[in-house]
C-alpha cells in the first residue's frame, strides 16, 4: 500500500513540475493584479491605512481607563484629565488626526495605483521582450540554415578545386558563431520567462508558454501630439495625486498646532510623513516654530510635485517623439528588408546555376538579410513597447485603475 502512495506521489509531482501554462499578453495584467508579490504586499498597506481610519473614528468614542477613574476620589481636579477617556470627541486634535488619516489613506491608495501600474507595465514589457527574442531566434535559425546551404555548395567547390580550402574554414567558423548566438539568445529567453513567472506570481516549476501577439500595422496608425496627451498624463498621475493628498493633510497638522492647548491627540497617524513637525502638548511658545516647519514641509511637497511633473513631461515628450519616429520610418525599414531579400535570392539563383560568384559576397548578402530582418522585427516591437509605455503614462486600457477618490465614489453604492 505504502509503495502505491509513493508511486502516485512521484507521478503527480512529476506531472505538476512538467506543467505548462499558456499565457497571452492580455493575461499578464490580470495575473499581476492577482498574484504579484509586491502588489499583494502593497495592497496590505492600503488595507492597514483604511483600518487606521476606523481606529481613529472609534478612538473618538468613550473608553475606560481604570487607573484614571481610581484617581478621582482622591483628586477631583483630575476629572478634567479624563476628558480624553470619557469624551475624546471633545478634543479637536482627535478629529484632525481622523481627517489626516482619511487623506493618508487616499495617498496610500494612489501609491498602490502607481506601483500596480509599474508592475503591470514591467511584466508586459518583459513579455514583449521575450517574444521579440523568440522572433530573433527564429531569424537566427533561418540564417543558420542559409549558411548551411552555402557551406555545402562551397564544400563541393573546394573538392572540385574551384575554391580555396581557407574559405571553407571561414564558413565553418561563421556557422559556429551563429550557433553560439542561438545558445546565448535561448538562455536569455529562458531567463526572461522565469522573470515573467516571478512577476506574475507563477511558481518557478511551471513552464510558461507565451502566446504570440498580432503586431499592429504601423502604416495604418497616425502620429500623435504631445499637447494632446500631456493633460491626461499629469491629471491622472498617481505620483502627483499622492503629493496633493499629503499636502492637503498638512492643513490639519497646522490646526493641531493651533488647538494643542485643548490637548494632544491620542490617535496616531497612519503615515510617518509629518513626524518631523513637532506639536506641543498644551499652550506654549513653540507653536510659531511648528507652523513654520509645517510651512516649510508644504514647500518641500510643492518642490517634489513640480519635479515629478517635469519627469512625467520629459518622459512623455520622449515617448511621443519615439512613437512618431517609428511611424515615419517604418516604410524605409520594410523596403530595406525587401531589397536585401531580393538581392539574396538573385545571388543565390546565380550560385545554384554555377555562376562565378564569390562565396563571401553571398555571405555578405545573407548577413544583410539577417540585419534587416532583425531591424524590422525590432522596430515593430519597439513601436508596441512605446505604445504600452504611453498607455501607462496616461492610464489607458490595462492601466486604467481609477484614482482613489473616484474609485471610492463609484464603489460607494453601485
Amino acid at each position: 500500500m505504502k509503495i502505491y502512495i509513493y508511486i502516485i506521489t512521484i507521478v503527480l509531482t512529476s506531472l505538476a513540475s512538467a506543467q505548462e501554462i499558456d499565457v497571452s499578453l492580455d493575461d499578464v495584467a490580470q495575473k499581476v493584479r492577482e498574484s504579484n508579490f509586491t502588489v499583494l504586499e502593497n495592497a496590505q498597506r492600503v488595507y492597514q491605512a483604511k483600518e487606521t481610519i476606523n481606529f481613529s473614528k472609534r478612538n473618538l468614542l468613550p473608553r475606560l481607563n481604570f487607573w484614571n477613574v481610581l484617581k478621582l476620589p482622591f483628586d477631583w481636579l483630575s476629572s478634567v484629565d479624563i476628558v480624553q477617556d470619557i469624551a475624546p470627541f471633545l478634543v479637536p486634535n482627535n478629529w484632525f488626526r481622523l481627517s489626516q488619516n482619511k487623506l493618508f489613506y487616499l495617498a496610500q491608495k494612489e501609491q498602490y495605483r502607481a506601483l500596480w501600474a509599474n508592475e503591470v507595465m514591467t511584466a508586459k514589457l518583459l513579455y514583449l521582450n521575450a517574444l521579440r527574442d523568440r522572433d530573433f531566434l527564429r531569424i537566427l535559425k533561418v540564417q543558420e540554415s542559409q549558411v548551411d546551404e552555402l557551406l555545402s555548395i562551397v564544400k563541393s567547390r573546394v573538392i572540385l578545386g574551384g575554391e580555396r580550402a581557407q574559405i571553407l574554414k571561414f564558413f565553418e567558423i561563421r556557422k559556429l558563431e551563429i550557433q553560439d548566438d542561438i545558445r546565448s539568445l535561448s538562455t536569455i529567453f529562458f531567463d526572461e520567462k522565469k522573470a515573467l513567472s516571478f512577476l506574475m506570481g507563477v511558481p518557478s516549476e511551471k513552464e510558461l508558454k507565451l502566446v504570440d501577439i498580432e503586431l499592429p500595422s504601423l502604416e495604418d496608425l497616425s502620429e500623435i501630439s504631445f499637447d494632446t496627451f500631456v493633460f491626461r498624463a499629469l491629471d491622472n498621475a498617481p505620483e502627483i495625486n499622492q503629493y496633493k493628498y499629503i499636502k492637503d493633510s498638512l492643513r490639519f497638522v497646522r490646526r493641531e498646532a493651533y488647538f494643542s492647548f485643548l490637548g494632544a491627540s491620542s490617535t496616531s497617524r497612519s503615515s510617518s510623513v509629518f513626524n518631523n513637525i513637532p506639536v506641543q502638548d498644551g499652550l506654549g511658545f513653540g507653536m510659531g516654530s511648528s507652523l513654520r516647519i509645517a510651512g516649510s514641509e508644504s514647500k518641500i511637497l510643492e518642490i517634489n510635485m513640480n519635479a515629478t511633473k517635469e519627469v512625467i513631461k520629459k518622459n512623455l515628450y520622449n515617448l511621443v517623439n519615439n512613437y512618431n519616429s517609428y511611424l515615419k520610418n517604418i516604410e524605409g525599414q520594410k523596403n530595406r528588408n525587401k531589397y536585401s531579400q531580393e538581392n539574396f535570392k538573385l545571388i543565390k539563383g546565380q550560385l545554384v546555376l554555377g555562376g562565378s560568384i564569390d562565396p563571401l559576397e553571398v555571405l555578405t548578402s545573407i548577413e544583410s538579410v539577417f540585419d534587416s530582418s532583425i531591424s524590422l522585427t525590432n522596430y515593430e516591437y519597439e513601436a508596441v513597447t512605446t505604445m504600452e509605455k504611453i498607455k501607462r503614462s496616461i492610464f489607458n486600457d490595462d492601466y486604467s485603475k481609477k484614482e482613489s477618490k473616484l474609485h471610492l465614489v463609484i464603489k460607494g453604492r453601485n
Binding site: 478634567v80 476628558v83 470627541f89 471633545l90 478634543v91 479637536p92 478629529w95 482619511k102 496608425l221 497616425s222 500623435i224 499637447d227 494632446t228 496627451f229 500631456v230 493633460f231 491626461r232 491629471d235 491622472n236 488647538f259 485643548l262 504611453i390 498607455k391 496616461i394 492610464f395 489607458n396 486604467s400 481609477k402 484614482e403 477618490k405 473616484l406 471610492l408 465614489v409 463609484i410 460607494g412 453604492r413 453601485n414
Partner: protein, 157 residues
C-alpha cells in the same frame, strides 16, 4: 468653560464643512456653462482643464456626500427647502453634450480626457443612490430631467 469652547469649535467646523460642499454644488452651474462653450471647438489643454473642473466638481460633491453620513442626513433634511426643478438642467449635462465630449476624448485609439469624464454616468448613479424615493420622484417630475438622467444611465425607470 473649556468644554463649552470645544463644543462651539466643533459646531463651527461641522457647518463650515457642509458649506464647502454646498458651494461646490452651486458652482457646478457656472462650470457647466464653461463646458458648453468648449463643445464646438477642438480639444486643447485649456478645454481639457474646463472639462476637468466640471467633472471633478461633480465627483467632489458626490465624494463628500458618500463619505459623510451626517452630510447625507443634512441633505435629506434640507432637500425640499432648496430643491428646484431648474437644478437638474443647471448642473447635469445633456446626453448629446456628453456624447460630443466623449467623441473628442478618443484620439488615435487613446483616451485623453480626465477619468471623471469617462466615469460620469457611474458618478451620477452613485449620487442618485443617496436620494430617497420621494427625493427621486421630485427629480423625475421634470420630464426632460428624467429623460436625460435615464439616457445618461444615472437612474432607472
Amino acid at each position: 468653560m473649556k468644554i463649552l469652547i470645544i463644543i462651539l469649535i466643533t459646531l463651527t467646523f461641522s457647518s463650515c464643512r457642509y458649506g464647502v460642499t454646498y458651494s461646490g454644488l452651486s458652482e457646478l452651474k457656472e462650470k457647466k456653462e464653461k463646458v458648453e462653450t468648449t463643445l464646438n471647438s477642438d480639444l486643447n489643454i485649456e478645454s481639457q482643464k474646463i472639462l476637468r473642473d466640471y467633472f471633478k466638481g461633480v465627483k467632489e460633491v458626490v465624494y463628500d456626500l458618500s463619505s459623510n453620513s451626517s452630510m447625507q442626513s443634512y441633505m435629506h433634511r434640507k432637500f425640499f427647502r432648496y430643491f428646484s426643478q431648474q437644478m437638474c438642467a443647471d448642473s447635469v449635462l445633456s446626453k448629446k453634450q456628453y456624447d460630443t465630449i466623449m467623441s473628442k476624448c478618443n484620439v488615435s485609439g487613446f483616451y485623453i480626457c480626465s477619468e471623471e469624464v469617462r466615469s460620469y454616468s457611474a458618478i451620477l448613479r452613485t449620487a442618485a443612490s443617496y436620494l430617497t424615493g420621494s427625493e427621486l420622484s421630485a427629480l423625475k417630475k421634470d420630464e426632460s430631467c428624467k429623460k436625460n438622467l435615464l439616457a445618461l444611465g444615472a437612474i432607472n425607470e
